[in-house]
Symmetry: C2
Subunit: 223 residues, 2 copies
């Protein structure tokens, strides 16, 4: 039996992530790793951002799920190039999966790549994929206490995107509590309050993403 220690796997992941990051940088692709619970609105947010970001070359999506092709089918039906990774039971994406998947994409045809991770507030936090930005979604129905319960993922993200804000009247969810808790865990991160249904907050989020992409090599810098 071959035994591999977790530390070695994580080290190998970091190495592969650095290679991914360099490949994406050279190709002029800005990469966003999208995290969040199952059903938190990751696919819907990506769909809503396509029009707002106005990519120069194009926007592609890598979808991670344990099984099935539900999300990739949904995006493809809307004309968004989408590739599905079936993790076959694994609870997160890793840099090796992204290396393999990104070789299937024509990077000359996109300047934005969104990676929708497996719906999970725990495991994806530990795996760098080679992304430029990491955003974590928190939907209003999940409750405003999640930063206390799942600190690691919020500590490792650049932004918290509160989704389904149109449902605020139906829940005891205080966006200001999220901002307060995030201030303690990860003061550099920012919070957006959004609803894909009403459009609330999407322009602000898109502007922030564009700004970040320009600060990096970014789509605007070109290959």
């Amino acid at each position: 039996m071959r035994i591999v220690a977790a530390k070695k796997i994580l080290k190998a992941n970091d190495q592969l992530a650095a290679e991914n990051r360099e490949r994406f940088r050279t190709a002029g692709v800005f990469v966003v790793n999208v995290l969040g619970s199952p059903g938190g609105g990751k696919t819907t947010l990506i769909e809503a951002l396509v029009g707002k970001l106005q990519p120069k070359r194009g926007l592609a999506v890598i979808e991670g799920d344990l099984a099935g092709t539900v999300d990739a089918d949904r995006l493809s039906a809307r004309g968004i190039p989408a590739l599905q990774i079936a993790t076959e039971g694994i609870c997160h994406l890793d840099a090796n999966m992204i290396a393999a998947a990104s070789r299937e994409l024509d990077l000359t045809q996109c300047d934005w790549l969104f990676i929708e991770n497996v719906g999970n507030l725990v495991c994806p936090a530990g795996f760098d994929l080679g992304e430029n930005l990491r955003i974590v979604l928190l939907s209003v129905p999940e409750g405003d206490d999640k930063l206390i319960k799942y600190p690691t993922i919020f500590q490792s993200s650049d932004a918290v995107v509160i989704t389904k804000a149109d449902l605020l009247p139906h829940f005891e969810f205080r966006p200001e509590r999220v901002a307060e808790d995030l201030g303690k865990l990860n003061p550099k991160a920012v919070v957006f309050l959004t609803s894909a249904r009403t459009g609330q907050g999407l322009s602000e989020l898109a502007a922030w993403l564009r700004d970040k992409s320009q600060g990096s090599h970014g789509p605007q810098a070109g290959p």
Copy 2:
């Protein structure tokens, strides 16, 4: 460095789970492992079931979270004996944690023990805790496509409890799709449609739980 293979850990977990199961059986405690996504309504469902189950001796709860004591504090404030396990980053509870936690409980004072697992639709599926029943929650805001995306957890559960059914008018969620998908994945499992807010379905769920506990050694059989 000590290296332990995953298979050995799982084997050890199964052994510890069997020991837990025997300890609970001897004490006349019926144990329910409650799974589901973060914010799916696990704590709220347990709170709502306390009155419905009418335990003879009492009902205790073991709470699993990465950090914090939010849920145990909430249950304790309502007079429900609750013990918090802080997994410190681990994405699921295991039988060893339950063995340690259950030694802190006075099992002579309860005939029901609910274990609220870490909010996660992936990892908890692989770990037997020594429970009698495993139920997985699926909240309406999460969407009705989750059985396709996260099949393992639905395959390993005795019931799917749809929660937040009062929100059905606000979402495109078809309970019949859940029943259909479950019929393919796990035909022996049953589906309950519930709302802790309106009380919908709670009596049916409580009746089913009582029936299962009687079919087992159960609270009624006594220690």
